[in-house]
């Protein structure tokens, strides 16, 4: 006679895709995934503002549509050159090295850093120290808060 648990375990296969290791990799590289995700979101939002398709962005950038698809899914480990070029094409500022990095360790009142899509969303507390030369997703040239009713 087998118990419910034993019967259940007989139905189980091993996880060849190793989901736990996949989750741990996401955790280890959290900063990268978070940054790529935010950039993706900023691009998606800007495309909508401009009423551009991903195909249009691909054409303007001289890349394939598949490449743009990778960007907006947050799967890309972006090169700085690519980020700057996307910014130029979409007419938005995607990254910035804050003035406070040039020798001033604490972010001051005037150095409020915000995400590209919500001006009220502070990445760092103002008093928190950040490492020199840290790149952050920074304030866009224009505010593009979305109305959730669309």
């Amino acid at each position: 006679m087998s118990t419910k648990k034993e019967k259940f375990l007989k139905l189980v296969s091993e996880d060849t895709s190793n989901t736990v290791e996949w989750m741990k990799e996401r955790q280890r590289n959290r900063s990268l995934y978070r940054f790529s995700g935010k950039l993706a979101l900023a691009i998606l939002h800007r495309l909508e503002q401009l009423n551009w398709t991903q195909t249009r962005l691909a054409e303007e950038m001289g890349v394939t549509k598949q490449q743009v698809s990778k960007w907006v899914k947050g799967k890309e480990n972006f090169q700085i050159e690519t980020i700057l070029k996307i910014g130029e094409v979409l007419k938005m500022q995607l990254i910035e090295v804050p003035q406070s990095s040039f020798g001033i360790h604490s972010i001051k009142e005037t150095d409020t850093l915000v995400s590209p899509y919500d001006e009220s969303y502070n990445i760092y507390e103002r008093t928190q120290e950040i490492p020199l030369n840290t790149m952050l997703v920074a304030e866009p040239e224009e505010n593009y808060q979305v109305n959730c009713t669309f």
């Binding site: 895709s17 955790q27 993706a40």
Partner: protein, 176 residues
């Protein structure tokens, strides 16, 4: 349709036929995809509380997904892994533990659905974004699908003898 082991003899996941990945990995991958979430939220904007932007909520959902990953890994890495605190009854009125109880783990608007085999043994069936202005799972297509998956999973377990009355009586015979 099969069941894969995620962690030891505690956490499992269904891998439904015709799907590329097991249900846990599938939903976690969706929840880290800004394009998928953004599109989903635009399609379901009526269920979002006023004052919250699509972009802001998309970012929050990605963060909540990271929190779920951290929570699961924390449970797995602890000496006394216990998933019972994570998975609560799907039915808020379930006051006694039912056999093969349908469960949910939640973080803000994210839901991870599972079947409870017994204490600290769960099989994940899927997950969903359940927005604040949506009340019942039956009310929206995407959560209806999750209900179907939960019920399909439960039937699969029953059909394979992972049921209760028989097992219960077997258990009684074993201890008598």
């Amino acid at each position: 349709m099969k069941i894969v082991r995620i962690f030891a003899n505690h956490l499992f996941s269904f891998h439904f036929k015709d799907e590329i990945e097991n249900s846990l990995k599938r939903v976690l991958r969706q929840w880290e995809d800004p394009e998928y979430i953004y599109k989903f939220l635009k399609e379901n904007a009526a269920d979002i509380k006023p004052g919250k932007s699509i972009a802001e909520l998309t970012n929050e959902i990605m963060e909540d997904s990271r929190f779920i990953i951290d929570s699961i890994l924390k449970i797995i890495d602890s000496d006394e892994a216990n998933l019972d605190h994570f998975f609560k009854p799907l039915d808020n009125n379930e006051y006694r533990i039912h056999e093969l109880s349908r469960r949910k783990g939640r973080q803000s608007v994210l839901r991870l659905y599972a079947i409870r085999i017994e204490s600290n043994i769960y099989v994940i069936t899927g997950g969903a974004i359940k927005l604040p202005l949506q009340h019942l799972m039956e009310d929206r297509t995407h959560t209806q699908k999750e209900l179907i998956r939960l019920n399909t999973a439960k039937d699969y377990l029953k059909n394979n003898g992972i049921f209760d009355e028989d097992s219960f009586f077997e258990f009684l015979n074993e201890i008598s």
